[in-house]
Structures are given as C-alpha cells and as structure tokens.
C-alpha cells in the first residue's frame, strides 16, 4: 500500500501518509495520493500527454511540497490530471535536484469521477523521513 489517508491529523483538509522503498518511490506514491484525492478513478486517467518537471530545493520535505504543488498547478493552468511515471532525485542535504516524468490527460468529469479540488499543499505536519528501511512522507492538502 503506497499511501493511506489519515483522518487523525486533519479534519477539514485531507492528510495522507505515503511510502516508498526509495525516495523516488515515495514521491511517486505521494503523487498517486494527490490524484486519488481529486479522482475516485485514477486508473481512468490515461497517459496522453507527457511533461517533465525539474525542481531543486535545500530540504527534502520542501522538495516534495514543490513537486506536489507543480501537479496542482497543471491541474488548474492546463486542466491536467497527472501520474508521476518516473522521479529521479540526486544531491545531498542543502541541495537536492528532482527530475520527474509525469503524464496524464485533460480532466474528464464523466470518466474521472471527480471528488474534491485540491487548492494547495500545506506545511502542516509535512515531513519526509527514512524509517524502518523505507521512506515515509506525511502531507496535508488544503481542499
């Protein structure tokens, strides 16, 4: 299970925990949780358009914040729902770089069974940690 929603840490908004055996997998799981927040049928989001996202940040949790925020930006600016296909992260504390290949398609209310519009990623409880031999992230989305 790469992510699960956690009602215990947010009432009005949507909180999730995501996991990955690598940092890259964690970011892909987090993108899946974001998509699942907006669509009841994320598997119906076809990979018709591809985009490359490049980001850098000093801190890992804020890199995840920026990555998810990019996906939210494309949802509004281009009406795209997106899967994260591959994510590559390199660097070290103080200078992380991310290159992500994402793909998806224009929002189709009939097929995508839309749920709630995500406004933003918050800093509430935001964290990325390596624990029990896997990467774990906590994110609260403003909806």
């Amino acid at each position: 299970m790469p992510f699960r929603f956690n009602d215990q840490i947010s009432t009005a908004d949507v909180a999730f925990e995501a996991w990955g055996s690598t940092l890259e997998e964690l970011f892909i799981s987090s993108a899946a949780a974001l998509l699942r927040t907006m669509s009841d049928t994320p598997h119906e989001v076809a990979r018709r358009q591809e985009l490359i996202i490049r980001l850098e940040h000093e801190e890992l949790d804020l890199l995840l914040f920026s990555f998810l925020q990019e996906l939210i930006f494309y949802k509004d600016a281009r009406q795209l729902l997106l899967h994260a296909d591959t994510v590559d992260i390199d660097g070290k504390p103080g200078a992380y770089n991310l290159v992500a290949h994402v793909s998806g398609e224009l929002i189709d209310a009939a097929r995508h069974h839309l749920l709630v519009d995500v406004k933003a990623v918050t800093l509430q409880h935001l964290r990325v940690v390596f624990r029990d031999n896997q990467w774990m992230g906590v994110v609260v989305l403003d909806v």
Partner: protein
C-alpha cells in the same frame, strides 16, 4: 475530548489560554464558544490559537471564533491583529483561498413561484456556473486584462458589463482592495487563474437557492432594512473565493517567507505554516500587494457568478434582473488581512487584522458601511451545510473586542473520508430531494463529503455569536436548491 488544563472560563462564551500555556506566547489566546461548542473542538485548535499568540506584534489576544476548527497555521476561525510597525503578516493567517467569501442576492420571488421550477432553475445554474476540480470559466481574457482584474476587482466587472454600480456599493471594500499590484504576483499565479473567473470550485463551495420563511425571522425590522420584505422570499447565497490564483499567491509567498523569516529577520516560530515576515519589510509589503490582487480576483469571481445567476433567473422567469428585484444584499470576505482602525486599550490606532475563516462584523454607524446599513450594522452571512440552512446576521458594537469579527460558517466536525464512509452521495441526494432540497453536484463523492452530519450545528454557532455579542441573528435561510462542485 479533554480540554487544556490551563483553559480558564472568562464568561459563558469566552475561554482563555494564558501566556504561560506555551513558551513564546506574547498575548493570551481566547476561544469564543459555548461549553458545548468548546467540547467539540479538536486539541489542534488550542495549539494553533496558542501558536498564533506567539507571532511578533500581536495585540491583545489571539482569537478563535465559535465555528473554529483545526486548520493549518491559524485555526479556521482564527483572528489576530498585528501592530503594523513592528508586527508581521502571515499567509497562514489568511489561508490559501484568499478572499473566500459569501454573497447574498435578493429576489422579489416567493417560494410558491420558484419551487415548481426548482429543477429547471438548479439545472440551468449548474450549466451556467462551472463547478468542480480544475474548472475554467466563461470569461476569456488575456493576461494583460487579467492583471486589470487583479488590480481593480469588481470595478473591472462594472466596466465590462458584469455588474451594476449598486453591486460595488454592497461589497466589502467596494469590491476592490486598494493598493493591489499585479507585479507582485508570479506569472505562475496568473497562468493558474486567468481562465477561472466566474467559477465556483469544489469542496465546501456552493450556490444555493434559499427561502426566508416568516417563522425564521429573528429581527423583522433589520430583515426589512436588509431587503427581506416578502413572506417566503427567495434569495440566492453563494460561497467561493479567488480560485487557483489566490492559492498560488499564498503558496508562492509561503515559500518566500520560509526563506527569510529566520535567516533575515530572526523570527522563530512553533509552526512553519505560520511563516511570516515583518509587515513593513519588502517581502511583507509584496505579499500584502499580491494578497490584495487575490482579494480582487475573489470579488470579481463572485461578481461574474452573480451576473450568470441573474442571466439564468431572467431567462427562466422572463423578466429582467431589475424586475426580479435581484439586488445584492451584501458580499463579505472571510480570508483576508486588512489595515483597519480599532480601539486598543482606549486608543484608536491602525492595526493589521488577519481573519482566517472569520467574517468582519462592523456595528451600526461604522465608517465603510453603505448608507442603507448605517443603522442596522453590516450584514453578516454565515453559511451552514447544504442540509441545515444558513444565517443572515447583523454586525454589532459588541464585536469591538474581537476587532469587529464574527464566525463564518458552521465548521467541520468530521473528516471528508469519515463523512464518505457514513453517507453515500446518491443516497444523500435522494434523501435531500425528499426533504425538498434539489441538488446538482459535479460529484457524488464530493457531495457525500459535504453532508450535514460533517458539520457543527449552525443554529448553535449563530446563537453563540449572538450571546457573545459578535453579531445578532436576523433571519435563518433554508435551502430548496443547491449546486455544488
């Protein structure tokens, strides 16, 4: 839930956390609530209200309104006034949906005239007002024109045929925050919002056809002053904000403030979500100018939606909006920071009031109100869930202590996932239909998340604002039709 041990009862509606509750608190935190509402608040509300009390320059108290609940940064329902000279501005005290707000429009129609056509009406409204995830609007404008929207708000709508002059008079700040500067906004924010004028969004955003039933009028004289003059009069209430543009402005400046808050200004806080900068700093002033652009986008968004609502009613009832008496009653913002004059320890001074999920509630005679509301006080619109109804209230002199602020809604008590586990969207829709509320929603799942059981008792919230002296009830408005994103 157990309440913090240090919470002291000041009165039946005021509860206080002293400055000793948490290291760094500069002022006490005050929760405005009845015992019943207080006992339903999450522990996070008290922590967040205490965190706000640590912000540099905060004056008097960190407040939480009766509909308060656990948010991010400030609690939802959080209010704080800062000294503009040595205090901070924080996007976490305004929210991502800058100038999310409520608008109420009158009609001279009655329930008897509208109910037989409610399905048609709701369907046509649903078609005219884009709703749901990532929706874009019918107003097409270039980026340059959008910058004009950002700097002039409802005035742009008036110039472009989406408003009548009286609409601006009935909007907080005349529908335009002065000093908005589009150059303070990122290209990303502009790209995100340029196609979203006139869109409702989703979540708790809605447009509702409501009835003012005679038995729900608490104050007939003020109701008349507000234009509620006919038994079972139909009004239209809607709730939305600045859409993706405002969300991006908040996100951009949250990141800017994170970079400079400690490094440049030496500010350390309990919660990163309260990232801030001194109000008079270059970053603080840039955010204030951009936030005003988002506030203006919020006003323009609601103005275009009102225009579409008038078009729908006019077409369906074959009368002009003027003939249908479709005058705006008022528009209130509930996610802003504003420079206002308030009495602080007996001295009138300018302060920066942050309201996050909280409504301005100016009392009778206060400057800034339309002449027609000088005696009554400002109309205050508090939205409930789509099942429970909403309230029209009036601002009071007693709200001075909270910087003339009252509640904004009923406040969630249950997470969205929990609500969906307990209610099925289609079942809820059919049940509401049986109860005389016709609903169209972009999503059954989204509808279930907004079920009435997920919210506090709006009757109690409205009553407590009155008991606390923050606003007084004028009329409860009950829904007969609703569109949701």
């Amino acid at each position: 839930m157990s309440l913090p041990a240090q919470l002291r009862k000041i009165s039946d509606t005021i509860w206080e956390l002293p400055v000793t509750y948490k290291e760094g608190m500069l002022v006490p935190a005050r929760i405005i609530a009845s015992e019943s509402l207080l006992s339903g608040m999450e522990a996070g509300v008290f922590e967040q209200a205490a965190n706000v009390a640590c912000l540099p320059g905060i004056l008097k108290y960190s407040y939480c309104m009766p509909d308060g609940h656990w948010g991010y940064g400030f609690p939802i329902g959080g209010v704080a006034a800062m000294d503009p000279e040595n205090g901070v501005i924080s996007p976490g005290g305004i929210g991502f949906d800058i100038n999310c707000g409520m608008r109420l429009c009158l009609t001279n129609l009655t329930e008897a005239e509208v109910r037989p056509r409610i399905r048609e009406l709701v369907d046509q409204l649903f078609n005219a007002i884009p709703t749901g995830v990532g929706c874009s609007g019918s107003v097409r404008c270039s980026r340059n024109k959008f910058r004009q929207v950002l700097e002039t708000g409802s005035r742009w709508c008036l110039r472009n045929g989406y408003a009548v002059p009286e609409d601006l008079e009935m909007t907080e700040e005349g529908g335009c925050f002065a000093g908005a500067d589009a150059d303070a906004c990122s290209e990303k924010a502009i790209e995100r919002g340029v196609d979203q004028i006139g869109t409702l969004g989703s979540g708790n955003h809605y447009c509702e056809i409501q009835v003012a039933k005679p038995e729900n009028i608490f104050d007939p004289a003020t109701a008349r002053a507000f234009g509620i003059t006919i038994p079972n009069q139909i009004v239209i209430m809607f709730h939305c904000g600045s859409r993706g543009f405002g969300h991006q402005v908040a996100t951009d400046y949250l990141q800017t403030f994170l970079k400079v808050m400690t490094r440049t200004y030496g500010i350390k806080l309990h919660d990163r979500e309260l990232a801030c900068a001194p109000f008079r700093s270059p970053e603080g002033q840039a955010y204030f100018a951009a936030m005003k652009c988002a506030a203006n986008m919020g006003f323009a968004n609601r103005q275009v939606i009102l225009h579409r609502i008038r078009e729908v009613f006019s077409k369906l009832f074959r009368r002009s909006p003027a003939e249908l008496g479709m005058d705006m009653l008022y528009d209130v913002a509930h996610n802003t920071a504003k420079l206002e004059e308030h009495l602080i320890d007996g001295v009138k001074r300018q302060v920066l009031v942050h309201r996050k999920g909280a409504t301005r509630s100016f009392g009778p005679g206060m400057p800034g109100l339309p002449d027609c509301y000088r005696e009554s006080g400002q109309p205050v619109i508090i939205g409930g869930s789509m099942e429970s109804g909403s309230y029209l209230l009036a601002g009071t002199a007693g709200a001075a202590a909270t910087f003339y602020t009252t509640a904004h809604g009923s406040g969630r008590t249950m997470s969205r996932h929990q609500a969906k586990k307990m209610v099925q969207g289609r079942t809820l829709l059919e049940d509401m239909e049986r109860r005389g509320i016709h609903v169209r929603s972009a999503s059954y799942g989204g509808l279930a998340e907004e079920a009435g059981l997920a919210y506090k008792d709006i009757d109690l919230v409205a009553r407590v604002t009155e008991e606390a002296g923050l606003s007084r009830r004028v009329v409860k408005l009950v829904p007969i039709g609703n569109i949701k994103g």
